[in-house]
């Protein structure tokens, strides 16, 4: 008997991201899917995952999913609550965070991100939320996981604006810029998983989610997509993963 049930593409994304969060890691958590994935991992295989929210909550153990990064539940359950200058200067810049998770409106083949504008900076077609913590999370965390839905609008040949550096122009660029973290290690999308090629730093499709064809992923990428010769299929969400995820989602923004 198979251990699977019907699931949505968003659920697959969240579960795939959660599986990458190994127990004991110190994780800088943004709101939305990253926070959901991190809290799902804590319920499953990573009870000692350390969650750091940029609002100042270190070691937060929320009983329900927060709606914002500053919900009271985060401060109330944290090991320590510190100021925003301290979070960014001592903890993030200080190199104390293993892993950051970021979303974006656009990503390019070298995993650089745009969250600033669609169109020209001065006269944007769409004004996006902006940088937030992303440039320094990507610069200073040990590694970065990027999560976004895949389409030719989001996976673009050229970013409208570089808000956050992944691998810049390619091999060696992070080192030349003096960025201390290793950079993006994984991109999780609704179609599959992409990882930077160890030599070229170019995002390469390494896994497709169940029921997704390689052609579809290629078509939904705005550059000629590299596909790993060892392409695999992501394991579908288990009953346990889905049950916890749905429970977390249902209780989002409420207080236990």
């Amino acid at each position: 008997m198979s251990d699977t049930a019907p699931f949505s593409t968003d659920e697959m994304m969240t579960v795939a991201a959660a599986r990458e969060l190994t127990d004991g890691k110190v994780c800088f958590v943004g709101i939305g899917l990253p926070s959901t994935a991190a809290n799902l991992a804590r319920r499953l295989h990573a009870p000692d995952l350390v969650l750091i929210y940029e609002s100042g909550a270190i070691g937060a153990k929320p009983r329900t999913l927060p709606l914002s990064i500053g919900d009271g539940e985060l401060a109330d359950t944290a090991d320590s609550v510190v100021s925003v200058p301290e979070i960014f200067n001592y903890w993030l810049q200080g190199g104390r965070i293993d892993l950051g998770m970021l979303g974006a409106a656009q990503v390019d083949r070298h995993a650089n991100l745009n969250t600033t504008v669609i169109g020209p900076y001065e006269q944007p077609k769409v004004r996006l939320p902006g940088a937030g913590g992303a440039p320094e999370i990507a610069g200073s965390c040990g590694e970065v996981i990027i999560v976004l839905r895949q389409s030719t609008r989001t996976f673009v040949d050229r970013l409208d604006f570089v808000t956050t550096v992944g691998f810049g122009d390619g091999p060696g660029h992070r080192e030349r810029l003096g960025l201390r973290g290793r950079g993006p290690s994984l991109v999780v999308t609704d179609l599959g998983l992409l990882r930077p090629d160890p030599v070229t730093c170019e995002l390469t499709l390494t896994e497709v989610h169940p029921g997704v064809g390689v052609d579809e992923v290629v078509q939904r990428t705005g550059w000629p997509l590299a596909v790993s010769p060892q392409l695999r299929t992501t394991a579908p969400p288990t009953h346990e993963e889905l049950a916890w995820l749905r429970r977390l989602e249902a209780e989002r923004g409420t207080r236990a």
Binding site: I31, S68, P85, F88, P129, T163
Partner: protein, 270 residues
């Protein structure tokens, strides 16, 4: 010494047209009531500074208070866009809005330098990004000791810093606790400051992790219970997450927004 004033008088005395104003509070303790009073007193041409513009600046921008925004993340957390901010940048409605985008780390350090009254702060940030190309407030600096290339951002010293706190005592000493954000830095960086509080008590009881701002470091204190709704004050209220969700359709439409502001903010002054 901080004067205990009513909110209307505090805003009238402290906030002037053309001022640079920072209303801070990182998700927690956002001083909405003070913003509403600024809107009611029809201040114009303000430079608004804030890490996360949030609904508070969406409302001020939509009501025409601002000509410039210095910020680092302008969304409705967990919900979506700030539609009034977007409409101002994308379509100049109700007025053009100049923006200076920073990262949280950069803008935070601009407050830190401001509080320390030094001209700039140094950090590892922005390298390789488009932000350092488009912003005149991001520059490269060489460490005089190691030769390492780092980033400098200028101090920000607002004319007025406004925060919300849980308590003040009758002499105007202030205490806030929970997520303390950049509130201390903003008050110390600003030429004038206003703290709205949930409660005035005879004597402050020090809280673990609490921040105390002595009366002599604050210009004015105003008693405004609930003055941070739909944000929250730990120990007094919960974040009204339902309001943040409900703001999405209200803010999306110019007429719905104007009508909501008229009914819920302007009417309170009539």
């Amino acid at each position: 010494m901080a004067e205990l004033l009513d909110l209307g008088r505090a805003i009238a005395e402290l906030v002037h047209d053309g001022d640079c104003v920072a209303l801070e509070g990182f998700t927690h303790l956002i001083p909405f009531a003070a913003a509403h009073e600024i809107i009611r007193q029809r201040r114009r041409d303000l430079t608004l500074v804030r890490l996360t513009p949030d609904l508070i600046y969406d409302q001020m921008i939509g009501m025409g208070c601002a000509s410039k925004l210095v910020f680092s993340w302008g969304g409705n957390p967990g919900v979506g866009s700030l539609h009034r901010l977007r409409d101002a940048v994308e379509h100049d409605w109700p007025a053009p809005l100049e923006v200076d985008e920073h990262s949280h780390a950069g803008l935070t350090n601009r407050y830190v330098a401001g509080a320390a009254r030094i001209p700039f702060a140094v950090l590892r940030a922005y390298v390789g990004t488009g932000l350092e190309e488009v912003s005149s407030t991001i520059a490269t600096i060489t460490c005089p000791f190691t030769g390492e290339r780092l980033t400098a951002v200028p101090a920000i010293n607002p004319d007025v810093g406004i925060i919300h706190a849980q308590q003040a005592d009758r002499r105007g000493n202030v205490q806030l606790w929970g997520l303390i954000g950049v509130q201390k830095e903003v008050v110390l960086a600003s030429a004038r400051s206003l703290v709205t509080v949930e409660e005035v008590v005879d004597e402050l009881t020090l809280r673990p992790g609490g921040v105390v701002l002595p009366s002599w470091a604050v210009s004015a204190v105003a008693l405004v219970p609930g003055g941070c709704h739909p944000s929250y004050a730990a120990g007094y209220s919960e974040r009204d997450n339902g309001f943040y969700t409900a703001w999405e359709p209200i803010s999306r439409d110019r007429a719905a927004f104007s009508s909501w502001m008229d009914q819920h903010v302007l009417a309170a002054g009539r």
